[in-house]
Structures are given as C-alpha cells and as structure tokens.
Symmetry: C2
Subunit: 331 residues, 2 copies
C-alpha cells in the first residue's frame, strides 16, 4: 500500500539496495542512476521508513525525557530547552511522566530503554537506583541527569549554593539584620540553598538562627502565607525573608505581609527563587534568583548527543549553571 524502497527500485529498474545507497548518499552510485532514483522518489512521494531503518541500524533516533510531573514548571521549561536544540538533528523527543509514582519508575525506565530502544535518556529531577544505573551503563545507554546528581553519570544543574548566597548577601549588603529563610523540607536543592544561606551569614559574621528558618512541604502560595506568619511570630524584628522555596511561595509571603500591614520593602525585604513570569508583575515587583532553565535543558541535550556520539564519557563531570539575581522593588 505505502510506497517503499522496493516500489522505487521497481519503477527505476534497479535493486532496493541501490535505492538505499542513493538515499544514504553513497558515493558509489553513478550520476545517472542517482538522478533517476531521486526523480522517482519525488514522483511517488516516497519517504524512508524509520522503523525499518532503526531495526537494521540499531538506533531509533529517539530521545526519552523522563520527569516526575509535567505540571512542574521546571520540567516543562527544561523540555522547551531540549526541544530548541532538536531542530537541526534527526532526533525526536518522547515524553514520559512518572507522575510521582516511584514504584513504577524503574519499570518505566526499563521499558523505555529495552522496549522502545531510545538512543538516550534525559532524566529531570529524579533519582535513579544505583543498581539500575549500572545495568544501563553496562548496556551502554547514554543518560544525562538534570538537577539531581546521581553518582556515575553526567548531571546538568544549577549552582544552588551560589544562588542562595547571592540572595542572602544582597540582604546583608542592604543592611538587613535579621534574615529569615523559607525553604523546602528535603531534597538536594533545599540542602544546597540552605548551605548557601549559611555560608553567606558566616562570611559576613551573622549568626545562624534555627528560629529564622521555616520548612515547607509544597512550595505553594499558602505555604508562603503560613511560613511568614510563623516566622514573624517568633521573630518580631525580622526585616528580610529569603524564600528559597520559590517565587510562588514568595508571593504568598508578600500577600500575607500586606494583610498584616507589613510594608515591603520598608519593613520587610523579600527575595524569591525562580523568576517565574508573574514575579515581574507583582506589586511591588519581586526580587528573585533567576535560573536559565531552558538554556540548561539545551545543554543537557548537547551532553547527551555527545555521549551518543561517543565524544563525552559517562564519567564526565557535572555541568553547573550560574544563577542570576534579578533586583526589583521588594528589596
């Protein structure tokens, strides 16, 4: 029914192998034959079938992107970055969402690789069992991790320590004395940001005070409101809050402050994390730490392609991206 290489061969009066060689630009085809074949291809609207090709080549030209949740802005923005690099390649992007169901995660990854034969994996903000990674490495499938460091494979991520340091330093340099922190209750990122916060305090001779730290679970607007309430109660003199849990939470903080009659930035300076679209539109504008996520996604893709082509080894180091502080009216 559909036009195959055989139909072209028959029409031109050559063998399928000859047509294949034309398609693949083999130099040992005569000019005459090449032209005839190309004409027939155009004429019959022939397109090479990647399934057949994949089978014999052992390569699908598919890249799998795996994340826990595609509602997460981070994952989506990463995908956008990866996608932007795709254009000039023959690769396709296949999306997999684990949807937070960790028990399925390993099965899913195995299926992606063994059944669908993706040429490479980009894994966003997910951990991987050491055992499975070893299995994959033995099979030789390239993997790049994004945001989550997994020993034994390249990771592309942001310098969280630095980002948190920058935010904290900004407060210190503008003479804030009691700097609160709102931060996720677990995870690599939270730990790193905590480290940056503490390093900055230490470098400038500020004491670290457990009572100035609020831990949040969900990174929501409500988490922000609740945390501010809690922090203010414990620390009436607090004059700055670094919301390392993200801008959404920071917006919750600002809203709560407004309700309580706390003036921003006069009484309280606020810095968020992420620079989401809306942070530029709040009133006052939210100062925040921006991470060029899409750029990082595109870098992750480059690393993966390097691994597929054999120019980048598994044991390559982590690629770190610099965050940037965006100063607006909230400080």
């Amino acid at each position: 029914m559909r036009v195959t290489i055989k139909d072209i061969a028959k029409k031109v009066g050559v063998t399928p192998a000859t047509v294949s060689m034309v398609i693949n630009n083999s130099p040992k085809i005569s000019q005459r034959t090449r032209e005839l074949v190309l004409a027939a291809i155009k004429d019959m609207n022939y397109h090479p079938n990647y399934i057949g090709r994949s089978l014999v080549k052992g390569k699908t030209n598919n890249i799998a992107v795996v994340a826990s949740f595609f509602a997460s802005l981070f994952a989506l923005e990463s995908v956008r970055g990866i996608e932007s690099n795709l254009r000039n390649t023959q690769y396709n992007l296949i999306l997999y969402s684990t949807r937070g169901i960790e028990e399925n995660e390993n099965d899913m990854l195995r299926r992606i690789f063994y059944e669908r034969r993706a040429d490479g994996l980009i894994i966003i903000s997910l951990k991987m069992q050491k055992e499975l990674l070893e299995e994959f490495k033995k099979e030789g499938i390239p993997i790049v991790f994004v945001e989550e460091i997994v020993e034994g494979a390249p990771t592309v991520k942001f310098k969280n320590i630095k980002g948190a340091y920058m935010a904290t330093e900004q407060f210190i340099k503008t003479n804030r004395k009691k700097i609160g922190l709102i931060i996720g209750e677990s995870g690599q990122n939270a730990e790193e940001r905590m480290k940056g916060y503490r390093e900055a305090l230490e470098d400038y001779g500020y004491p670290y005070d457990e009572g100035l730290v609020a831990r949040v679970a969900n990174y929501t607007f409500e988490d922000g409101e609740k945390s501010l309430k809690q922090l203010v109660k414990k620390n009436p003199k607090m004059d700055a809050v670094f919301c390392a849990a993200g801008d959404v939470t920071a917006i919750g903080v600002m809203d709560e402050a407004k309700d309580e009659g706390i003036k921003i930035p006069d009484d309280l300076a606020v810095i968020g994390y992420d620079d989401i679209y809306i942070s530029n539109l709040t009133n006052p504008g939210l100062t925040t730490i921006r991470q060029p996520i899409a750029q990082m996604g595109s870098q992750a893709f480059d690393v993966l392609i390097g691994m597929i082509n054999g120019t980048i080894p598994y044991e390559s180091k982590i690629v770190s991206f610099e965050p940037e502080i965006i100063i607006r009216e909230s400080v």
Copy 2:
C-alpha cells in the same frame, strides 16, 4: 548482544514463534511451555523490542503531538491532559514543535507520518492545508485537532462564544453600563469570543460600540496596560472590561487601573479569560472564564484512540467543552 526472542527460544528449546505466542498470550500454548518460556524471559531479563514488532504489525504505538510553541500554556496544559490518559495504554507521546515556522509545518507533518509512522496525530492550535489533510485521510492516519476547527476531521475545543457570553452577561447582571472588550486581533477564538460578547449585548438590549473594543496582537501584560489607557481615553464612562485576550492581559489592565487611580471593582469591573494560576493571587482576585484544558486534552486523546480503533470516524463532529466562570473580587 541484547536478549532477543531467539535467545529465549534457544534456552527453552522451542522456536521463536512459540515464544512470540507466549508473549502475545496466544491460547494455543500449553501450560507447561508457557511457564518455561515465562521463566526464561524473567531469567534473562528479556523485553520485547517494539521496533521489530512495529515493523511487522505496521503500528508504532506512538502518538505525535504537534503544536506551534510549547511555551504556550495552552499547549503545555493540553499535553498534560493527553499524558494523563496515556498511563493505561501502550502508547507513547512524541512532541513536535513547529515553533511558529509555518513553511516547515507541512514537511514536518509529512515526516512525522511517513517516516516516523506515528499511529495518530493530535494537532494543537494549528491549521492544516486542506490538501495535506486529504492526503493524510487517504492514507488513513487518524488526526484530532485541538482548538482549531479544520473541516473534515474531528476537533476538540471550547465554547468560546458561550464563555464570552457568560462574561458579558455577568457584567450586565451586575448593572454595568459600558462594557469594554480587549481581544486578539485575529483567529478563530477571537472571532468567536467577539460573537459571544455581541450576542450578550444584543440579548440584553445593549448597543454594540466599536469604540469600546481594543485589539491586541501579543496577549501580554503590556498589551493590557496599553489597551486600558486607550479605552479609557475614548470612553471615560466605561465601567467594565472583558479581557477576552486572557488573564495575563487582564492583569495588565488591573495594574494600569491601579496606576490611574481607577478602583476595581468599584469604578471598573474586570473579567479575564483562562484562569491561570496567578489569577487567584492578584489583588483583587481576578474574575475569569476557566477552561478545563487538561480535561479537554484527555478527551482529544480518547477521540484519537477511538479513531485508531476504528470506532470513531473522521466525519465525527466537534466535541465542545463548557467554560466556567470563576467569580472573584474584580467584579
């Protein structure tokens, strides 16, 4: 190197076909053989290779999702909806972004279908040349359009007329007299929302006034600011604005109003469109028309699967989704 059906066959002492039949749950395999084969499959960590399978079955189990721009919230949210239905199927999602380069669009679609052999296409907010659609229909590839009606194939979309009607009616019922409209300058959606706006005016005996309509090109915050300025200048007595161009633009409107000393909702009532995350967080909260996008995406997927399975024909009608009005403080 990798475990194939042949390796399993050899180990168990049967032929590859027998193993295949076990994998495919053929009833004509003896219990004994089935058990032996399944044991070997587990033992050797065998996974069926979809490439080989696809070739003989003429089916890839891949669904292609095509959109112009994955930065668009609408497209992303749709993908999320589609994704949510994927879990219980054997289908994979392949993402294609035309990135607004229309000239490549047709080539891209052809490649998706002819080269990568996707089993079905979901096309989000894009038009398709009649000619190409005919070609695809002749080849029998199922296509579902999302948001953009294309004659000859099923479309899943929202009732824009109704959404705009609801917003306009809300103003009328709360006694607003001069209702402005900010709307995109072209496209099916804009036309439909305009229609809903006019229908509501007409039904309640309000005159339609060209001077109360502002057209925007980019749906941005700035477009909102600019439009409000322009509308207020022309219509000092305007007491409501329906921002059919979306919530982002509506937030621009509210911000501009604040700058001009126009009180919301006392002096001016505002209704947006989309109910983006932040609309709940503005001050005052933005009343808006919500569209259950993810739900619609999942419906699009269902329709596509129906077409693939032959239970839904090309000539099926449009599936329309009801919008919902979310009342907050801006009215």
